[in-house]
């Protein structure tokens, strides 16, 4: 399973929408990194030319400030990159789903084992989730009022069945039924539906570390 298509179980190729979304460039981190390179260049230029500058100490302080800005920008770029592409995975949650190929109306058996209970700092839950990935038109305006449009793929959870579990109870097994009239797994051009069994540590005002097992629900 590719990390770019981690909503798909093995053996199910991505559709047009998933491939298109995966091609989207992470412009935010890229731009921040380029600005950081610019700041680093400015810092080097000030440092190299400090002996010929009107104020040597001023150049040195300027070089230090530019270097600090460059480091800060790189750190923000890394943070943004990780936030965009590396959702917080809870490796201390061991989740399995059986079967991973089923039909609507069938049940999936989820097993959760917490390998390090000391890491649970919130409400431990396991659930069956269906996410709709749907394309929307996003409008934006520049300073001159010119309108531009771009296509964005949004994620909305359309089926959620979260259940609280006791972190100290050892291995736990829960059964979830896929609603017979719900969406099925589908890889489309403008809309897709993806199912998963997920375990998470729900925390207030912070991101929820989680571990997902994608499953494929046939019609």
């Amino acid at each position: 399973m590719s990390a770019r298509f981690d909503h798909l179980p093995p053996g199910h190729p991505p559709g047009r929408q998933s491939r298109r979304a995966a091609r989207t460039r992470p412009w935010g981190p890229i731009l921040l990194f380029l600005f950081a390179l610019g700041a680093l260049g400015g810092s080097i230029a000030l440092w190299v030319g400090r002996n010929t500058a009107k104020s040597k100490s001023g150049s040195e302080v300027g070089a230090a400030v530019f270097l600090g800005v460059a480091i800060l920008l790189v750190l923000v770029a890394i943070w943004l990159w990780r936030r965009l592409f590396h959702a917080r995975v809870a490796r201390y949650l061991d989740v399995t789903a059986d079967p991973i190929e089923l039909r609507r109306g069938d049940a999936v058996h989820a097993t959760l084992r917490v390998t390090d209970p000391s890491r649970i700092d919130g409400k431990l839950q396991i659930g069956l989730i269906c996410t709709a990935l749907h394309d929307v038109k996003v409008e934006s305006y520049d300073a001159q009022g010119h309108r531009s449009e771009r296509r964005s793929t949004e994620r909305t959870e359309v089926v959620t069945d979260w259940r609280d579990v006791d972190p100290s109870a050892g291995e736990q097994r829960l059964d979830f039924a896929v609603p017979p009239d719900s969406a099925f797994s589908y890889e489309g051009d403008t809309v897709s539906w993806a199912w998963r069994v997920s375990a998470r540590v729900a925390r207030e005002h912070r991101s929820d570390p989680h571990r997902d097992v994608p499953i494929w629900v046939s019609p």
Binding site: R16, Q17, A132, D135, V136, Y186, G188, D189, V191
Partner: protein
């Protein structure tokens, strides 16, 4: 050119044949008249074509009215069923197309595809 699609309005199962006819209400210049079955999906802002099952060529060259062309198209055995929720829809559509200079003329008709029986 003005086309109309006449299709039996019933649900279809994967593997079923969709039979119908293309009625030419107004004739005109055409290079090719054809019919196809499209698997499509849509959201509130976008529409896409996922799969095209080409049907037979019904006519070649200019078409005069009135005329009627019968066709049959098979729903693929692995066809996903029609489905819609508040965020998007997966649907199937018959598309009769007159290939013309400039904008083509279309007549479209959505059909309901049922889930494959267990």
């Amino acid at each position: 050119m003005k086309l109309e699609l006449v299709v039996d309005d019933r649900p279809y199962a994967p593997g079923d044949w969709v039979r119908g006819r293309v009625e030419v209400r107004e004739g005109g210049h055409s290079r090719r008249l054809s019919v196809s079955l499209l698997q499509r999906d849509r959201t509130a802002d976008y529409t896409g074509v996922v799969r095209t099952i080409e049907g037979p060529e019904l006519a070649r060259g200019d078409v005069a009215a009135p005329a009627s062309f019968e066709f049959s198209l098979q729903v693929p055995a692995d066809a996903p069923p029609s489905y819609a929720d508040s965020l998007g829809a997966l649907y199937w559509e018959i598309d009769a197309k007159s290939d013309e200079r400039g904008l083509d003329t279309h007549a479209r008709h959505a059909i309901v595809v049922l889930p494959a029986s267990r």
